[in-house]
């Protein structure tokens, strides 16, 4: 990645105007760590978003609002009841990278999608973006946008992310596999569970790394809904359902093992989420 010009806007409108002006040669940048991975031979104009007021984390009545330029370290250190992204942040590369990488960058730049996008799919987070007008999209819609543009948001600035606040009866499980502590994920699973009167009333299971974009397993979710909230509920899942998905094994794994690993990670994620939702230890 070669950067031949640098623009430091202080207003979102300025940033957006420059983005429109530069077109394909614009490069939105916050932490900047993704420049190490993105292959581009044509020089870019960096539009540095770090001076924009997009860094804070705010607690709302039923959700948290996170500025897109919040660093992973910010997410790790934030403490509030019902906040779960610290668990994702803690498994993110290393402290040096956590200090500078941003949530926005992790969502919009890093492929394969793992880490926060997987968690946000399970939590049904929403993204608010500046286009010609402000627009809110669910994370699931966001990745369709990225798919259409070969893995990058086009002509938009991600402003903030809303993520639900977990309350009593809700649980979150997160299971990420890496070969080394700082390695890329070989399988990441996030699970959200809501328990009502001892039964699972809502469940969302998402996985990344083994897919270009995080996937939800709707059939598995359907199988669990209404079941007793206990670890044994995993037996209700037909893991043959994984055969329907085009998995992309990482790090030289075979497809067979990749499926097996995903199965283990899904089971782990569900066990964690159910344990939390029912007041057990995660």
């Amino acid at each position: 990645m070669k950067i031949n010009d640098f623009f430091l806007p202080t207003k979102i409108s300025e940033a957006y105007a420059r983005l429109k002006k530069e077109g394909n040669s614009a490069w939105l940048m916050a932490g900047g760590t993704s420049t190490a991975f993105v292959k581009s031979t044509s020089p870019k104009t960096a539009i540095d978003l770090t001076r924009l007021p997009l860094r804070g984390i705010t607690r709302k009545s039923d959700h948290f609002r996170i500025g897109a330029c919040a660093t992973v370290c910010d997410l790790m250190e934030y403490k509030a009841e019902g906040w779960v992204l610290d668990r994702v942040a803690r498994r993110f590369v290393n402290q040096h990278v956590r200090n500078i990488s941003t949530l926005g960058g992790n969502i919009s730049r890093v492929f394969y999608w793992s880490d926060f996008p997987v968690a946000l799919r399970a939590l049904e987070g929403t993204l608010t973006m500046r286009t010609s007008k402000e627009s809110k999209v669910k994370i699931s819609e966001a990745f369709h946008n990225m798919l259409a543009h070969r893995g990058a948001f086009k002509d938009v600035i991600l402003e903030y992310i809303d993520v639900p606040r977990l309350t009593k009866g809700m649980g979150f499980g997160y299971s990420k596999e890496t070969r080394t502590s700082e390695g890329f994920s070989t399988a990441t699973v996030a699970v959200f569970v809501k328990v009502d009167k001892g039964l699972i009333s809502d469940v969302r299971i998402a996985a990344g790394s083994v897919f270009p974009f995080p996937m939800r397993f709707l059939k598995m979710e359907e199988a669990l809904t209404g079941e007793k909230a206990e670890v044994g509920c995993i037996r209700k899942i037909d893991f043959k359902d994984l055969d329907r998905y085009a998995l992309t094994p990482r790090e030289g794994m075979t497809l067979d093992y990749c499926k097996h690993l995903l199965k283990v990670k899904i089971s782990d994620g569900i066990a964690q989420a159910v344990a939390e939702a029912t007041g057990g230890s995660r």
Partner: protein
């Protein structure tokens, strides 16, 4: 035997002589010293594993902005040479040209562009047009040895400079073997026999400072090469050959080095920077990117090892057979010697009378093998030490007791020492110091071996197991390599210690200063240590084969002893005593009764300026006649996730007998580094190739080397012994501790799960599959 307890400098953890400058970030490394006006080199690397260059057109590249010259096969000397930095004549084939008309792996040299900036050079690389005739590549052992296989070195020019087996028409780089006793008879005498194949993978050394060199012409037209090398003198000799210029015309300077681990025991960049400097008259820099280091640098040789053992119920080992195939990749440097060490550093560890050893190194169209810490022994120990556990299990004996019953001890010899040399017969040797039993006992106590339970007794998803392995290595290449040191006194009683030995960050400059300081009864801060510079320092073979402390250290001790005798002679004149009445202490010549003394400073001032003037100085050389092994016992506790196969190292204990640890803290550092290196090699590091032979994960983000965040608890125990032939009782410590990772972890995985792994690295999937297999 000298008591180390009485030593004042040796066996003390003094501060490294370069510590302050390094920690202050001073400009000490090759890249720091590059002239501002240096030109830059970028290489066009082969995209093909095996191809002939039908034509190459560099005209467009030569005309591009900033380009000063383009080097390719059409405009450089074509002199076969070997890039391996070994003694002369090298026991490796001369199978390399600076640039060739054939490329033999993805990452082989095609053409070098020399330009004002790296970007201009890179742009011009893209403008070179090459027409390749793509040839069928060879990627594995069986294919390389198959009748009618593509011949990787079909050129007529390649040859071996000494009479060793070399059959390039069969893709064979070298062969070596030995027989002792009667292997077949030994197998027949056994109650149980075993026959198992193991495979070890490619690995990269991953020094933080990659390959980097620059060259310039001095005012007299000599080529001065500043380079990150382990072997400055070998490099000078090989560059002279490759460029067809006299050695006299070349000076090689090695500044501080940011790690080597064997990968810089090679002449890889220096010929090109030297020729580029000659052609342009300008300083020229070449630094490889990390991806280039992975693809075009040197690697650990992958090996396939067949082990056959015979054992009696009482624990006597009746026979061992080792058949190795060693993949040297596209060029054959170190192909013979790595195999030789896989035998000579491994077979002698246990008493076995009936021995068969047969090894072949083969060419393939894959990255090139080279020297790497452990040098073949590491690969062979995986197989041998895994099988020791298998045998102990079969006869129902504790693996620790089985090892203690069978390992070599002081006063014993082994035929492999003489049979397996490095291009000529090895040196027969009787083991001197050996504290291996102490290593085993202390390591076992630290890991809690007595509480180890069998695999069948474990339940649950996460299961823990304890494994062990024992090893030996060597200290120097006897009767082949030479080290030397020069020492002179200055006005203030300080000394210049000049050595050709190469401190790679290991601390060898400090260790050598400690040896000199101990002999001269002064302190290390009185030494200005300079290493290495082919114009300024005496010859040394360089940093490899675990030799600097044992070999160069003895040269330093001898030089210091000579200087000491000169100091005493002058001191005797000053004090009006007989020399035999005097000794040295605290930087003074003193009478043995303590009644009078004169300082080194006063002696220096007298000899330099006043009376009977002469320079107090000495230069001494040393060649070793044996290669005394350090010994080690490693113990590891692991936890295995039975569901995923993931292995986590909980604790690792390395008990090492390195003779006298000249600097215990540095010895512990070497051991801890090598242990983590070995764990990483066993568990996570991996070269992954596409179907065309291109490494797909050529970066630190993809290669999965462990970092300090992955470091488990490592306990190093230095178990003392005294090697009479070494300086102040020292042997080596740098290589041995990488040998334990693979076998000890494999044995621990077995102890945890009942599943055995025969192929490394022990990825989650391999371990998981072994677990599934063990359940059948």
């Amino acid at each position: 035997m000298t008591s180390v307890d009485k030593m004042k400098v040796v066996h003390h953890s003094v501060r490294k002589v370069d510590a302050e400058a390094l920690s202050r970030g001073k400009h000490l490394f090759t890249g720091d010293l590059t002239p501002a006006d240096a030109l830059h080199i970028k290489m066009l690397w082969s995209p093909h594993a095996h191809a002939r260059i039908k034509s190459i057109d560099v005209r467009a590249a030569e005309k591009m902005p900033g380009v000063r010259c383009v080097l390719y096969h059409g405009n450089v000397p074509k002199i076969p040479h070997c890039t391996a930095g070994q003694g002369y004549p090298e026991p490796s084939p001369y199978d390399t040209l600076m640039f060739d008309t054939k490329v033999r792996y993805v990452g082989d040299r095609v053409a070098a562009v020399v330009a004002e900036t790296p970007e201009q050079a890179l742009d011009a690389v893209g403008a070179i047009k090459v027409d390749y005739e793509v040839l069928k590549p060879v990627f594995d052992y069986d294919e390389a040895l198959r009748d009618g296989a593509p011949i990787i070195h079909d050129e007529k020019e390649s040859y071996v400079p000494i009479p060793i087996p070399y059959e390039p028409q069969k893709n064979i780089v070298a062969k070596i073997g030995m027989e002792a006793g009667d292997f077949a008879k030994g197998m027949k005498e056994a109650d149980f026999t075993f026959d198992q194949v193991f495979e070890t993978p490619y690995a990269q050394h991953c020094p933080i400072e990659g390959y980097i060199s620059w060259a310039q012409l001095n005012p007299y037209g000599r080529i001065v090469i500043t380079t990150s090398t382990q072997v400055p003198f070998h490099t000078r000799r090989i560059v002279a050959r490759a460029l067809d210029v006299p050695v006299q015309k070349i000076r090689v300077i090695k500044p501080r080095i940011g790690g080597g681990f064997g990968c810089k025991q090679e002449m890889l960049l220096e010929d090109v920077v030297a020729l580029a400097a000659l052609r342009t008259g300008r300083p020229v820099l070449w630094a490889l990117t990390r991806a280039e280091v992975f693809r075009s640098g040197r690697t650990r040789h992958p090996m396939r090892i067949r082990v056959r053992y015979g054992v009696k119920k009482n624990g006597d080992i009746t026979a061992i057979g080792l058949d190795l195939i060693n993949n040297t990749g596209a060029y054959g440097g170190h192909g013979l010697t790595v195999m030789s060490c896989a035998g000579s550093k491994v077979l002698p560890l246990y008493h076995v009378n009936n021995i068969h050893f047969d090894a072949k190194s083969i060419y393939t169209n894959l990255p090139v093998g080279g020297a790497y810490r452990g040098f073949g022994a590491t690969q062979a120990y995986f197989a041998v030490e895994s099988m020791i556990d298998v045998m102990a299990d079969k006869i129902g004996m504790d693996p620790l007791a089985f090892r203690k019953r069978n390992h070599i001890v002081s006063g014993e010899s082994h035929p492999a020492f003489e049979a397996l040399g490095e291009g000529k017969p090895g040196a027969p040797m009787t083991i001197g110091s050996c504290a291996l039993d102490g290593c085993i006992d202390k390591g076992a106590a630290e890991i809690g071996w007595s509480k180890r339970t069998p695999p069948g007794s474990k339940t649950g998803r996460y299961r823990r197991g304890i494994g062990m392995s024992i090893h030996m290595q060597g200290s120097s290449v006897p009767e082949i390599d030479m080290g030397a040191a020069s020492l002179k006194i200055n006005d203030d009683g300080s000394f210049n210690l000049n050595v050709g030995a190469t401190d790679l960050g290991t601390g060898s400059d400090t260790v050598l200063a400690q040896i000199a300081a101990e002999e001269l009864a002064t302190t290390t801060d009185k030494f200005i240590v300079y290493s290495s510079d082919t114009d300024m320092t005496p010859f040394d073979k360089g940093a490899y084969a675990s030799s600097t402390t044992y070999l160069t250290g003895e040269a330093v001790r001898k030089a210091a002893a000579k200087v000491k005798s000169q100091l005493i002679r002058v001191g005797a004149e000053i004090l009006r005593k007989k020399p035999e009445e005097l000794d040295v202490d605290d930087a003074h010549v003193v009478t043995k009764d303590g009644s009078a003394k004169v300082s080194y400073k006063d002696i220096a001032l007298r000899t330099l300026y006043e009376t009977e003037q002469f320079q107090i100085a000495a230069i001494e050389s040393h060649v070793t006649h044996k290669s005394p092994p350090p010994f080690a016992a490693h113990f590891v506790e692991v936890e295995v996730d039975m569901e995923t196969g993931k292995v986590r190292v909980i604790k690792y204990v390395a008990a090492v007998d390195c003779g006298t640890a000249i600097n215990p803290q540095l010895s512990e550092g070497q051991t801890e580094g090598a242990v983590l290196n070995g764990i990483s090699y066993a568990l996570t590091e991996e070269y992954r190739f596409d179907g065309m032979g291109k490494m797909m994960n050529a970066s630190f983000t993809g290669y999965n080397i462990l970092t300090m965040r992955d470091k488990p608890e490592i306990k190093t125990i230095l178990v003392p012994s005294y090697e009479e032939t070494g300086p102040f009782g020292a042997k080596s410590v740098s290589e041995i501790s990488i040998n334990g990772g693979m076998p000890a972890i494999a044995n621990a995985i077995y102890n945890a799960t009942g599943a055995r792994v025969y192929r490394a690295p022990f990825t989650q999937e391999r371990v998981w599959r072994a677990i599934q297999e063990s359940k059948k």
